[in-house]
Amino acid sequence: MQDDIRRFGKKDIILIAVIIAASVIAAFIAFTTSHEGSTVVITVSGEEYGRYPIDTDRVITVDTGSGINEITINNGEAYVSYADCPQGICAHHKPVSRSGESIICVPHEVVIFIESEDFEGGYDAVSG
């Protein structure tokens, strides 16, 4: 209807500017708060043993009752620094840091898993 068509004016420009500004701020927040490999989660026989931020260096000694696994978090990655399981496969595994990566000690049922908000760069499963 003729009456509703008004000229594109100042109010419209302000509205568009506000919405764009809000989008930019939201995107900025989204991109800066998600980062790779934020938490190292350790479980023993399916029960959560602990959660540790990957950017804080520490050594965690897990005594499972059937054996020991020592996990080191250093320089933004986690690895098994010592294990007394028969083959020591977990101790040979390369350090993990990306979302979805894990190191598993099958005989001791110890799982070290990297959890983070950023899934895009992460793996969904490992075939090997």
Partner: protein, 340 residues
Amino acid sequence: MRKALCVILSALFILPACSCGAGMKRYTRIITGYFDTATSVTAYDISDEAFEEHISEFEVLLKDYDELYSIYDDVEGINNLKTINDNAGIAPVTVDQKIIDLLLYGRECYELSDGKVNICFGSVLRIWHQYREEDANTLPGEDELSEALLHTSIDDLVIDEAASTVYLQDPLMSLDVGAIAKGYAGKMICEYASEHLWHDAAVSFGGNVITFGNKNADGHTPWNILIENPDLDSEDEFLTVKTTDNCVITSGDYQRFYIVDGKRYCHIIDPETLFPASNFTSVTVICDDSALGDLLSTLLFIEDQEEGLSLIESLDGVEAIWTDQEYNVTYSSGALNYAG
């Protein structure tokens, strides 16, 4: 016009905030204690409660198949593969249909592989298993292995489908389904899971990966599957496969092995030499049937490159990647569509 502009701009503002399919959240759980390995599930579900319920159901299935297909553990009240082995030459054993189905599939595998993948090879495999477990500093003797070979005939496996019984005619023979059990059980479990538990999931049964639906539950993003680097000393990422509704199954020599005089002896035994196969350090098969994929990854690990490549090229929709002992990688013609 201003109203329309408002609506459009507001929608653009809101949409980027959710990367998952509407209302779905991503969960990952790693389950140990079954099939002598770890099983990981990455799935999209509607809530924490729903996921806990579904993963419990999943674990029940895992336990069920693990108990039935075990050749090492007795399970009270259940006749499993160990029960069949313990009764070799003695009597038929009544078993669950899931065991009948696995063994019938095993027979098919024998035909498909010209006898190279043989679920009745237990007497030979058991010897190697023992040496590995004890981390012996010697190899099994040729005599020991040749004697065991005499008790590996698939014709001595008697399956009575009507009575639901299995009987091993030769008292010295035994079943070993290691080459196909995870792939077969995984297939059965995921058929159930995709119908009743989750629309979108990537499951790894000790490295046998089965995927259905999509990453992000968005109807189009492929799953991102990492193939483990067979070089244990390397810190590099190896290969990744991007795919949906497909399986990625890898056989390798870098997890179950022992070392004698500096040489590695793995768990996949070539039935012709009676010794571990050593052409490759890793073979990955990509196909939509994980039971077939498990058979093929074992077969390709044993066969030489030419035979294996020829077989894969003859199969529609199946691709493979071979890594030899010098870490040279060979792709089947379609493998690069998925991998890189």
